[in-house]
Amino acid sequence: MQVRRLAFVLAAVLAFAAVPGAGIRAADPPEIVIGSILPLTGASAQTGAGLRAAQQLAVDLVNGHVTYPLPAVGHSGLPHLGHARIRIVFADSQGKPDQARAAAEQLITQDHAVALIGAYISSTTATASQVAERYGIPFLNPDSSGPGLTTRGLHWFFRTTPNDGTFAENFYQFLADLQRTQRAEVKKIAVVGEDGLFGTGAGDAEEDIGKHRGFDIVTRIAYPATTTEVNAEVQKVKAAAPDAIMMASYLPDALLFMRGYKDQGVQPKAILAQDAGFVDPGFVKALGPDAEGVFTREVFSLDIKHRNHAVPLIDQLFRLRFGGKPLDGNTARDFMGVLVLADAIDRAGATTPDAIRGALVATNIPGNLTLMPWKNIQFDQSGQNIGGAGIIEQIQDGKYETVWPFDIAVKKVVWPMPAWKH
């Protein structure tokens, strides 16, 4: 009967699918394979493409001979491993947790990666790192800021980027410094964020640390990330009349809020944003003068070139590979992530997981040998880099200027933020 034949065909197809997948690999390549999981399709595909270019650039520099004041760069491969070259293999997480797990499995079992790096979106980093934990492979996360990732007690998980807790701490440290230097009076704080993992993580940290430091959290607002209007949210903020508003939003909602604040005359002394929508090129372009004075935390800025002259050079190399787009917080962190991993493998002198993990634990790279505004790169037992810190930029004359910490600031803080222009 027609369908019976089809059912048997189905069974046969399954059988064939099983055989070729045995995955027998050619002789072990001289190269050292690093597996990278990124959102190459789906909503974050554009960001994923940038991260991919930055990671590839780092690998090429490690395999190249041009030297820069950066770890593991310019020695034509890894010196302690007979100058073996590094090869990075990318797998697409589509921004979905289960797909990220499948990608991690492929990189470990089929591509025989000695270590993994990835995965930008916190939920995909969670599942991919669990696969690495199960197989006992070091996993380095350069770019997910969800605080929970390093509280899971994973043995093989390391994170170079500061997390939302650090950034919230930065905000309050910044406000304390301003009070000391410019008599800036901030007491009442509004915490606003989209209701996904990003907004919730940032919002919780901002609220807890704020209360802990004696600030008055006058309102906590979570809104559906896909909302097409924010009238109610703006009215709630207006009713709370905060001195400062902390925002965690993507571009569409960020624009809605800023226009709402202007229309409703919500005039805080400062708007402190967790980058994302507030650093999207579309933000300043859409708001023009109304974007003036907004503060945003950042992990990287081209302004710190005086700390490490490699910064502008790497920025130039990156623009060549990525359509002239400058190095930003995400791409810079991923670039550094690959170097930290390469450096660890080199110091391990072997590609066994334990050796690499040992080298990672022993990592202590001084801040000026990185592109980042960090004290240094050193992991605590939960795998979190304790030397990391964010910087704070302010939009002045349409440009993002580093204003804090003061030792690397290039512009003075404009306080309070200018009134809305009508």
């Binding site: 997948g21 399709t41 797998a91």
Partner: protein, 331 residues
């Protein structure tokens, strides 16, 4: 009937052989995902195919199982309890949401399922014990007790058992009072009422069974992925994936969901892994185009149209030569 059982037996045997014979974790992973989505597709097929009420909110039942497993493990219980617990919650949820909505016609029901799913999503996000947007992450364990394994083999075996159960239940459905009544309701409401079929009661039974199956698949998903949060198990995109598997394969047939799942896995997972490096939405383009072609040319899906073709040929043949073949009937 016999044909189905033979085919099911063959697939179970092949699956078991592949589970033990194979070493490539990636292929085993694809096999596991195929079985999981075949179960999900079949569970959706019971309500949207056999009962004729097209659901776009089916993820809420999948989430019952997934959250049950994650929360039970977080509370220190064995994930195996999630099968009965998830089934109970999913069944109840189906009855509560199905009772008022199952009588709605066509698009009204479909949009109602989206609305219900959005309400459940809001409830899970804002109720403290579901951990809101953070969801749950299961600590790494090993062994049958914790239903977690380093190798994929055991996952495939459990999925195979679940797949076999679900297919068997569907084969039995077609030869049961529920199956006849659902077909009657879809074929002609007036005639169905005349022979005493209470639409709401029988569709609720189908809906509850459908929910229980989806919940079981949710438990397996949670134990394999070890991470559960609203967007990954409850989102509209999850419901859409489940619905599309049923459509491609063929609604109201025993083997439609399995074929749909095979295509889904081959396309969404296989292509993405291979095309992974390019960074563009190519797999979505291929997938969307395939659905459009199938919907336009073969609206009953691949298996569905085969069934129609065979039945029309058999119906026509009987009409003219009058010879009555053995009561054997396919699909």
């Amino acid at each position: 009937m016999r044909a189905h059982l033979l085919a099911l037996g063959a697939i179970v045997v092949v699956g078991a052989v592949a589970a033990f014979g194979l070493h490539s974790q990636v292929t085993l992973e694809l096999l596991f995902t195929f079985l999981l989505y075949a179960v999900l597709g079949q569970s959706w097929n019971w309500i949207s195919g056999y009962a004729g009420n097209v659901s776009f909110g089916h993820a809420i039942f999948f989430a019952c199982g997934a959250y049950a497993a994650a929360m039970l493990v977080a509370a220190g219980f064995s994930p195996w309890l999630a099968f009965p617990a998830g089934a109970l919650v999913a069944g109840l949820l189906a009855v509560i949401t199905g009772f008022p909505t199952l009588a709605l016609r066509g698009h009204y029901f479909s949009i109602a399922t989206i609305a219900v799913a959005a309400l459940v999503d809001a409830f899970v996000r804002t109720t403290p014990w579901f951990n809101g947007a953070n969801g749950f992450e299961e600590p790494i364990r090993n062994g049958w007790g914790a239903m977690q394994f380093a190798q994929k083999t055991n996952y495939v075996l459990i999925a195979l058992v679940l797949f076999a159960f679900v297919q068997l239940a569907t084969i039995v459905l077609e030869r049961s009072r529920l199956g006849y009544y659902l077909r009657a309701l879809r074929a002609n409401h007036a005639a169905a009422a005349a022979v005493g079929i209470d639409e709401r009661r029988w569709k609720l039974i189908a809906f509850a069974w459908s929910a229980v199956m989806a919940s079981a698949a949710g438990v397996l998903y949670a134990q394999d992925t070890l991470f559960v949060d609203p967007p990954s198990v409850l989102g509209l995109s999850v419901s859409i994936d489940i619905a599309l598997i049923g459509v491609v394969g063929g609604i109201g047939t025993v083997w439609g969901p399995a074929v749909g799942a095979l295509i889904y896995v081959a396309l969404a997972k296989g292509v993405a892994l291979q095309l992974g490096g390019t960074g563009k939405g190519y797999d979505l383009v291929i997938y969307g185009a395939l659905i459009c072609v199938i919907a336009a040319l073969r609206p009953r899906g691949i298996v569905g149209s085969l069934v129609d073709a065979s039945r029309r040929r058999r119906g026509a043949r009987i009409a003219n030569d009058g010879a009555a073949p053995v009561a054997e009937r396919a699909a």
